[in-house]
Symmetry: C2
Subunit: 257 residues, 2 copies
């Protein structure tokens, strides 16, 4: 399968390297930055271009692994007939690719990908979608080689899945950051919190998160809550978040009782 990969950011780099590991070859790499594109192309052992007009036309599968905004720009340039075109974004509708080819779809790996942290796609859930059976066939071949957890998810569901992903990753990591700052400024070791962080995550692998919720907010322990809010007087960011999230939790769990 001749794969043309667009994108040299975290997703492009990690996806490219995982494709090579899984036995695929990259036919050509496209990127905007000459430096980054050349470097990644060397790693992937493939041809490259930084000119949208020089993207090869004889590929079988075009993977657009770029920022949401850039998908539009690239998709306007690609006129491919029957080659399968996919993007890898959580929040972008599949139909943005409608004008590129008769066969298009989405391959969305649901994982947080940071620069310089190598990841293996085998255990990452990959959500796929296609506009027809022919595109789906190609997409399935690639997705199933890449990951052991492939799910068919349509564009609307995928967008909500992405929102859920933001909540369980971006927002929770923000909470970790706030806690870490408290540790630094108040002189206790962030290390102490790690077993709690892990147990909290591990608990929802086996339980409905609602059923294992603990804490002053759901006990409606107003004394502890107001003592915490007072203690945070020197931490206005923390105080704002603490008050708001606590209030939301109280309302949320009251409703569901």
């Amino acid at each position: 399968m001749k794969i043309v990969l667009s994108g040299t950011g975290n997703m492009g780099a990690q996806l490219g390297q995982n494709l090579i590991k899984k036995g695929f070859g990259i036919h050509q790499l496209y990127g905007r930055s000459a430096d980054k594109t050349k470097k990644l192309a060397e790693k992937l052992g493939c041809d490259f271009t930084t000119n949208l007009d020089s993207i090869k036309k004889d590929g079988d599968l075009y993977i657009i692994a770029v920022s949401d905004k850039a998908i539009q720009k690239i998709s306007e340039k690609l006129k491919l007939g029957n080659a399968v075109v996919v993007h890898t974004a959580g929040s972008v509708d599949m139909n943005i690719l409608m004008g590129c080819s008769n066969n298009y779809g989405v391959i969305y790996p649901l994982q947080t990908i940071s620069e310089n942290t190598e990841i293996s796609f085998s255990d990452i859930p990959v959500c796929i979608e296609a506009n027809n059976e022919c595109a789906m066939k190609t997409i399935k071949i690639l997705a199933n080689k890449l990951s052991n957890h492939v799910f068919q998810v349509d564009s609307e569901k995928r967008k909500f899945l992405h929102i859920a992903g933001v909540m369980v990753n971006n927002f929770t990591n923000f909470m970790y950051s706030l806690a870490n700052e408290l540790a630094e400024k108040k002189g206790f070791d962030f290390e102490i919190l790690k077993p709690l962080i892990l147990e909290t995550a591990n608990k929802v692998l086996k339980n409905d998160p609602k059923a294992v919720q603990t804490g002053p907010a759901i006990r409606n322990d107003v004394q502890t809550i107001s003592s915490h809010i007072n203690l945070l007087n020197d931490f206005p960011d923390h105080q704002k978040i603490y008050s708001f999230v606590t209030e939301c939790m109280q309302q949320y769990y009251l409703k569901s009782k």
Copy 2:
């Protein structure tokens, strides 16, 4: 060591059972509810009472493992001379026990404890504090047998540690709940999110959470953010949280740049 345990809730029950496992005996159990106290006393193989005035006076160590409010009530009743008295609360000052004895302190296990989920205290960080060396000696013996991770933390630090614990446990679990509700209502499987939940928690074991933060908020990707907020029109609770936390994150990360 003659241990008198007060409290038959999650903390009392789990702590009592772990003490037995670690070779301690319970001299007497105090609880408010006759049923609950009797049941737990049977498990612990010990004497029990539901009358504050009948708490035995010949104990060596009194552990008050009850709700924050109830600590006050019990501490007013206990007049013990030299026996060591401790409470197990994150947010309560050690000095609440000043009137009970000449020797007092705190044993605060930092972990989320849900009913019916058996936990082992060996891997739980236990924070200890004491008003003098004598109390500290007894508290250390117990804490070090109970857990492999014992930290000396004074009352003020402990309160901030408790706030940090609320953030990394209560608040993150709330995010899991919101995501789970989206999954149920939008027809995708919560299962898909589990690798992301675990990876997010695992990542901060080795990294500064600030350094691995990802997502539309810190990229200032206003297009994705506003698309997410629009999609959440039918989920006002989620929408409110999404908007607020995103805004806080944008401000927080902008400041620290």
